[in-house]
Subunit: 198 residues, 2 copies
DNA sequence: GCGACATTTGACAACCACTGCCATATCGCA
DNA sequence: TGCGATATGGCAGTGGTTGTCAAATGTCGC
């Protein structure tokens, strides 16, 4: 049940990585809509049918990369001390998430560029974002043991919106700035509306 | 250049409305994915090709309804007194937008239900939302004559996020509550972080 | 009302994302 | 080495979407 290291598994990993690389390269060269699945698979010498065994859809190649991050975020919020005010907990969790973004800055920025020019990608990326919001909402609601989710949802939505603007401006600047400070500034600004000690 | 009232135009309006009605009905009956464009057009006795002359995509039938609202919102923000703090201006504009939502509560709620169960719709709806964010950001940036749009964007993103949560909970409650107060409460909560007179 | 003109529609063909199905190839293990 | 599990390829089919062209239909001046 651990990380399988059979020949089979490694081969699968490699194929997946090759497909992702080829796809990103072609998307960058000629655009997402102008790249067919056929184009991608012939670079890796794999059948189209196989492509769809690795990815649910063409967009999934771009989105998939972010897939588990939401769950990770969820975990990070859960791990915060229970007496911490909710917005602050979210802020701290997002702070940790930043590390992952910086590690894979190239892919994050490429995805963002694609999102700008391709509605289909943008839409999927936003959808993933919405899923994150739901997860965070759940965790926050549990933490404060309320049945009415409106408060937690507002915090999740607003916090993630602030996070996204920071990541967005980081991407447009080419990832040169310090994402930590950008995110933290944006969230600090918003936090003043919540978690007031009053 | 005004509202054309020729037979031609009226017929087009009617066809569009019939297609929309048929589509919403079928989507509700058997779901979005299970309804083909063919199914829709045969109810209105129109060719599939014609369907795509009225709508850019199948999803567009659901989204199209909201299309101009973003521009309307933009106009409403522009119309606010220039000395008003930005978040407050946005809050006021969203307050007016609420009227439109309440008028067409049935469609708004139907769209929301479809969004919940159909990823494709959800994604498109979110994309429209993102476009609104851009428009609002632009207007706010103009108002305060800044070149760095990070501040305006944060306000737009956060304000719209708050707005969406309110609309969301209104929809899940079946549109029974007063949307005005829901929206206003959510925005008031967030506003404390911005526009402070300090 | 009639005819030239513009616009809308329908039919057909094509492209492409995506899926189910079955035969074949490949890997892991006894 | 050979058996069972799994990965792949090929193929046919569905459905969304678009271009093209010809037929139909509204518009407008006369």
């Amino acid at each position: 049940m651990d990380t399988n290291v059979g020949l089979r598994e490694r081969k699968k990993e490699r194929t997946r990585a090759e497909l992702t690389d080829a796809a990103f390269r072609l998307f960058e060269e000629r655009g997402f809509d102008e790249t067919t699945v056929e184009d991608i698979v012939e670079q890796v010498e794999v059948s189209p049918r196989t492509f769809f065994r690795y990815f649910d859809s063409k967009e999934d190649v771009v989105i998939g990369f972010f897939d588990d991050l939401g769950l990770e975020l969820r975990g990070m919020v859960e791990a915060r001390p229970p007496d911490e005010p909710p917005f602050r907990a979210l802020r701290a969790a997002l702070g940790s998430l930043v590390d992952v973004y910086e590690e894979r800055a190239d892919r994050v920025i490429a995805a963002k560029r694609l999102a700008l020019e391709t509605p289909a990608i943008r839409a999927r990326l936003l959808d993933k974002h919405a899923r994150w919001e739901n997860w965070v909402t759940e965790v926050l609601a549990e933490r404060q043991g309320t049945d009415d989710d409106r408060g937690p949802r507002l915090i999740a939505a607003v916090g993630l919106a602030a996070y996204s603007t920071a990541v967005g401006s980081w991407c447009t600047k080419g990832g040169k700035q310090d994402l930590h400070s950008l995110v933290d500034e944006a969230l600090a600004e918003v936090e003043r509306g919540f978690d007031r000690p009053t």
